[in-house]
């Protein structure tokens, strides 16, 4: 009897699992499928390709338009992530470990920014960056990315830092460490997994952005892939851009899939730990 119920319960859960997995994967599989279709079969309306081809991938990697955008995407996201994580780590350490006036204010400000409508910054940043010569440059995108990634980084990291037992730092101090040594030799090795998780989350955030990328760039110099996709609209190089767009879309989806596959546990813990404490 008991065995039977658990089997049935397992089946029921299994069915629900399948629904979730199908729901989550169909749009991704669809765009991947399109990217492998030949131009002739592209409009056959079938979910799976009848003829497979890699031509679409060859095409996009042959054009400067895509390669340049890919370089921009990777470079900008990596630099923004690195800076945001370093600044975020410093701030989160201070917030979770030290007592100083103004701490609440900082937490409040970063919460406000997390809720901030990014579009409200588009017009002033557009104008300010044009005046400063930052418009259509890497730093012009990196700056807003850091800003909006910082609240995420600070929240996730301080949640991680708060899990590190307080006593360890005290113990290190009693053992003769300075504040700095206590951080470098005791806290940092324990914090590394949290920092790594945060870096993934921040990278996904930067990699994902479209609004800033489309408003603060105007040429291939600093256009990222999500924006470049909009300009694939089949002018000279491509007859029908659908296949190329899909291939490019798949290329920028690959890193996300890899992150999710390898670091599922970390990403979930990062997102949920930051969330519980708000």
């Amino acid at each position: 009897m008991a065995v039977e119920t658990t089997t049935r319960a397992k089946l029921r859960w299994g069915l629900l699992d399948v629904v979730v997995v199908v729901f989550a994967l169909v749009p991704v599989l669809w765009i991947a499928s399109l990217s492998f279709k030949t131009p002739a079969t592209l409009t056959d309306g079938k979910f799976w390709p009848r003829e497979w081809t890699l031509d679409n991938y060859r095409t996009i990697f042959d054009t400067d338009q895509f390669v340049r955008a890919l370089v921009n995407s990777i470079g900008i996201a990596l630099i923004a992530t690195a800076i945001a994580v370093v600044l975020g780590t410093m701030a989160a350490y201070a917030i979770s470990r030290l007592d100083f006036p103004g701490k609440k204010l900082l937490v409040g400000v970063s919460l406000l920014i997390a809720m901030f409508p990014q579009v409200s910054l588009v017009s002033p940043l557009f104008e300010i960056e044009r005046q400063l010569g930052l418009f259509d440059t890497w730093p012009g995108l990196i700056l807003p990315y850091i800003t909006f990634a910082l609240p995420l980084a600070i929240y996730t990291l301080s949640a991680f830092f708060k899990q590190i037992p307080w006593d360890l730092e005290k113990a290190a101090k009693m053992d003769g460490a300075t504040q700095g040594q206590a951080f470098r030799r005791v806290i940092a090795p324990l914090a590394a997994p949290g920092v790594f998780t945060t870096a993934i989350l921040v990278f996904i955030f930067c990699w994902n952005d479209f609004l800033f990328a489309i408003t603060l760039t105007s040429t291939e110099r600093s256009r990222t892939v999500p924006v470049a996709l909009q300009f694939f609209t089949g002018e000279s190089q491509f007859e029908d851009p659908t296949g190329a767009i899909c291939a490019a879309a798949v290329v920028i989806t690959v890193p996300i899939i890899l992150f999710v596959l390898f670091f599922q546990r970390r990403i979930v813990s990062g997102l949920t730990s930051g969330a519980v404490k708000g």
């Binding site: 997995v21 765009i31 879309a249 989806t253």
Partner: protein
């Protein structure tokens, strides 16, 4: 062993006790605070403060410089006639831009569209997200697979997902368009809006679910067992035990998703490009700014969106009081 106890402390305590019989603590409250505030800071304390400021300064500086200053600048811009195509006509016009925007039908249509998308998607996501959270949290089989699959919509680039939906509904190309006899759903307002909402829900339900799962994790297993032995059904366990414990997590998830949904831009841009009156406020602001190059009107819309979001956030915080994020309780939890 030189035992040299000094009973002064005990005496002082006994005296203090005698002064206020029945008092549980020896010290007088007013006396404490008065002396406490004047206690000089030791080197240790001062060093800690300095380090705290030093570590936070860069992050704070970047955040303030890139948000506070531009938003003020945006207010300044919104008070001017400032069209980049006619830079010579730039002048201070007071609130004229606000009058223009607030009496404009496009603005109110976009506002309505945004509000509709926000309300519908957040409501649907709350239900679906709760279901997904329960599955991810409690499933007996394949927990890792479900969680991994659910993270894909969260992680994927919104624009990529939007293209996938767009091609799915394009007549001839798409597997979904054929379901409707080759009509073009993305050329009609109602169906376009439905598809936009579908794309939004697909993309952000997992995030909602993760936030809710964090709340689910706070429900003690013993509490559920106790409820079952007390005779509660599965539904009663959910509504009477889980939901109350999860309330703070639900409110946080709602707040974040509401504000996020209000910013909807990417999906509309790719799916309809704002055609057939499907523009959101963000889309409209973008069009005025980048396509119309009208900085004055664009900034006015920016400021209005900012104010709306501030009001939503304020209402949430007011309604939910200490359960809202940023309050002391929420922060220490």
């Amino acid at each position: 062993m030189s035992v040299n106890a000094t009973p002064a402390g005990a005496q002082a305590a006994a005296e203090a006790e005698a002064e206020q019989p029945g008092g549980r603590h020896a010290a007088v409250p007013e006396q404490r605070s008065r002396r406490g505030s004047r206690a000089p800071l030791s080197d240790n304390k001062r060093a800690e403060r300095r380090l705290g400021w030093l570590l936070c300064a860069p992050a704070a500086l970047v955040m303030v410089l890139v948000t506070a200053y531009p938003i003020l600048y945006s207010v300044w811009l919104s008070l001017q006639r400032f069209d980049l195509r006619f830079p010579d006509e730039r002048e201070f016009v007071g609130l004229e831009n606000y009058v223009t925007v607030l009496t404009n039908d496009f603005w109110w249509t976009a506002f309505g569209v945004t509000a509709l998308i926000t309300v519908v998607t957040v409501a649907v996501e709350l239900v679906l997200g709760m279901g997904l959270a329960l599955i991810m949290h409690r499933t007996l089989v394949g927990r890792g697979i479900v969680r991994t699959a659910a993270l894909i919509p969260y992680g994927i680039v919104t624009v990529v997902a939007a293209f996938s939906w767009r091609y799915a509904w394009t007549p001839g190309t798409g597997y979904l368009a054929n379901l409707f006899d080759g009509s073009a759903p993305l050329t009609e307002r109602a169906s376009s809006l439905a598809i936009i909402m579908l794309a939004e829900i697909w993309k952000t339900t997992p995030f909602m679910a993760l936030l809710l799962m964090a709340g689910l994790a706070l429900v003690p297993e013993d509490l559920l067992k106790a409820a079952s032995t007390d005779g509660a059904t599965a539904w009663q366990r959910f509504t009477k035990v889980m939901l109350p414990v999860m309330k703070p997590a639900i409110l946080v998830a709602l707040l974040f998703r509401t504000l996020d949904a209000f910013r909807v831009f990417d999906n509309i841009f790719v799916l309809t490009n704002g055609g057939n009156e499907t523009s959101s406020v963000s889309m409209l602001a973008y069009n005025n700014l980048i396509r119309g190059l009208n900085l004055g009107i664009g900034s006015t819309m920016s400021v209005l969106i900012f104010i709306t979001v501030a009001i939503i956030a304020f209402v949430f915080v007011k309604l939910f009081g200490t359960a809202a994020p940023g309050s002391d309780d929420g922060e220490r939890r």
